[in-house]
């Protein structure tokens, strides 16, 4: 089925679908041993979907009007916010996305440059840590760029929240029967209808630019090049955690406005690579090693026992 989609959809030129690959793997996962051996090869250099979409956030343009928050809330049918969207008192403390808000805007007072606003939502990593973390494969990276979560496959371990370097997935702790992860879906249904995400549509200042990630990178570079005094020379999201669909340019250092700074440039799964590749080794070498050890010890005892006394009848198991 996915092959047909690929042919129809012009943006799906990438011949290699991660989802298909993992699906094949999962089918092969008949037994525990195969499953674990499989995990060792479940990652490989995935360059990402080259024609995927992204969003460029030009933080120098954001005025903190929170139109994006309001649009996101409406489009995704989220509950009413505790404080209205035109109430500026929310900026008095730093917020993060929650089960009730996929995106929030925070204000940072920076000396010499006045207030800087930062929009936070899922960055839709090229190779997401949440995806790698999930033991049930509830996350999908779509070729369009969105990282989606399927609550029907989730048992609520919340390891994705531990793994996310950007502190994005939120959990609906209040629910006893249907708790689930809540996070930005990059307006996937709208993208499928050839519409742009609601936040970008609502933004009145041009802070948010939706487009192909590759094009947005060029655009960001051009802006920095043309106006080097306005921007610092860094596109956040170009390389962080292996690259993200959302990209940011800013006039102040990213660490001053709360962006996590110590994220490796490789996808986070590479950190686990070494461990996972040891799994099949243990499965194959250990039985031989310890089996031999047992045989050697048994052999010695047998010799000793035969020397001392001969017990009758009792044959030894194994």
């Amino acid at each position: 089925m996915s092959k047909e989609v690929k042919e129809k959809d012009p943006i799906l030129k990438e011949p290699f679908s991660r989802r298909d690959f993992l699906k094949t793997l999962s089918i092969a996962t008949g037994s525990l041993i195969v499953g674990s051996a499989g995990s060792a090869s479940a990652y490989r250099k995935i360059k990402g979907y080259r024609n995927s979409y992204g969003m460029l956030v030009d933080l120098t343009l954001c005025v903190g009007c929170r139109s994006c928050e309001r649009a996101c809330n409406e489009v995704n049918n989220l509950p009413k916010p505790d404080t209205p969207f035109d109430d500026a008192t929310v900026f008095e403390r730093l917020r993060r996305p929650t089960a009730k808000a996929y995106t929030v805007v925070n204000r940072y007072e920076i000396e010499g440059s006045g207030p800087v606003y930062r929009k936070i939502q899922c960055n839709h990593c090229n190779e997401p840590a949440c995806f790698s973390a999930c033991p049930i494969h509830a996350y999908t990276k779509t070729p369009e760029g969105a990282v989606l979560y399927d609550e029907n496959r989730c048992f609520g371990c919340r390891y994705c929240m531990i793994a996310c370097p950007f502190y994005i997935p939120a959990y609906d702790y209040e629910s006893a029967l249907r708790p689930r992860i809540m996070k930005c879906i990059f307006c996937y249904p709208r993208i499928k209808q050839n519409r742009i995400p609601a936040c970008a549509e609502a933004c009145p200042t041009g802070t948010l630019t939706f487009g192909r990630r590759e094009d947005l990178l060029k655009l960001a570079r051009r802006r920095i090049l043309r106006n080097p005094s306005r921007y610092i020379d860094h596109i956040y999201g170009e390389h962080e955690a292996g690259g993200t669909s959302w990209l940011y340019i800013s006039g102040v250092p990213f660490k001053d406005i709360g962006f996590p700074e110590d994220i490796p440039d490789e996808p986070l799964i590479t950190q686990v690579k070494g461990f996972l590749s040891a799994v099949p080794v243990v499965f194959t070498v250990w039985p031989a090693l310890f089996g031999m050890c047992y045989a050697a010890v048994k052999h010695r005892y047998k010799g000793k026992r035969e020397e001392t006394s001969r017990k009758e009848g009792k044959d030894e198991p194994q």
Partner: protein, 416 residues
Amino acid sequence: MNHNETLDRSRNFRSWLMDKLLMGMSWPEYMRSLVTPFNIVAAIILIVGLPIIALRFLHGLAEVTHASNDYPWGLLLGWGLFGGVPLSATGFVMATAYYIFGFKEYRPLVRLGVLTGFLGYLFAVVYLLVDLGRPWRIYYPMFVGFGTASVLFLVAWHVATYLTVQFLEFSPAILEWLRSGRVRRWATMITIAMTIAGIILSTLHQSALGALFLLAPGKLHPLWYSSYIPHFFLASSIYAALVMVIVVSALCARFLRHRADSYFLDSLDRLTIGLGKGAAICMYVYLVLKLVGVAHDDNWALLSTGYGKWFLVEILGFVLVPALILTLGVKLGKPAIVRIGALYSIIGILVNRLNVSIVAFNWKLPGHLYHIIPPWKEVVIVLTITTIHILIFRWIVSRMPVIRQEPEFEDEPYNL
């Protein structure tokens, strides 16, 4: 007539079963025997704690935990899973020592080790069931979706499989209790295979619990985040098992003395010294490994920071000092000192696991040390489950041949 026969048989079965469950006492006798100071305290904990556990399932996790998006894992997993699993390596370590390496003289402690391990894993799963958002889906990694690149996928499979393995390893004790000699023979036939399976599964999931954090390099403090973290977790789980056996066997000899036989009691001091020696050696190796970890990432400069000092407290105060106490006890031949060192080492293991999963995790977030103080309801749940754990352990040791040998089966050799 036929009817009478069935009635007789069922009556016989009933009296046989009650004899097993009440340990030969009558109901009034049994009830009277239950009134002890320990049981009264346990009862109070359960009366308070069980309703709180019920609240968690009625009102969701927000009712009993911080329900924090920044701190998705709290004390329930920090204590129950990350603390509980290394201390439950007892089954794999004792069985390997006895069956595979041929340390025959440790036979009196093998079953105790297997039972401690089995219950430890069982209760790790219980904590998990309380903590999972939708615990009724716990089997999902086995049947619904396969996140083969996830370390947690490996942990889930291994804990499930190993729980089964440990049950099979312990089953001879249950079958002896039920006097089922024939089934018991079948159960003992798979011992070696199960032990080797136990080594494989334990090596992998003990280290995997550490590897879980490899995915979060920016979040865990660099002194605890190391590419060696799977090795740290595995190495420390081995000495954790040894010191746990020392402490659990001492507690059994003290509080369940009438359930033990002289074979167990007479050999205990000698074996305690032996286990203490093994544990101390493991701890020195682990300490060196931890220092290699600091050197590997060149984190020496961090040692002078606040977290660095806490790191030093952990590896010196909670690894080196208890190891020295163990060594002292071994050198002097004083099992009492070894036992103190062992208890201290157990606390050290818990300190390390709580450091990794809670204290050093999210260390950069503002107000971090305030956020990690658990809410009282979560503490009560931990206390309640721990109490149930102890009660079930005692229930089994009181009835089944764990720290004594069943005379009927005494002569049967354990495969060696």
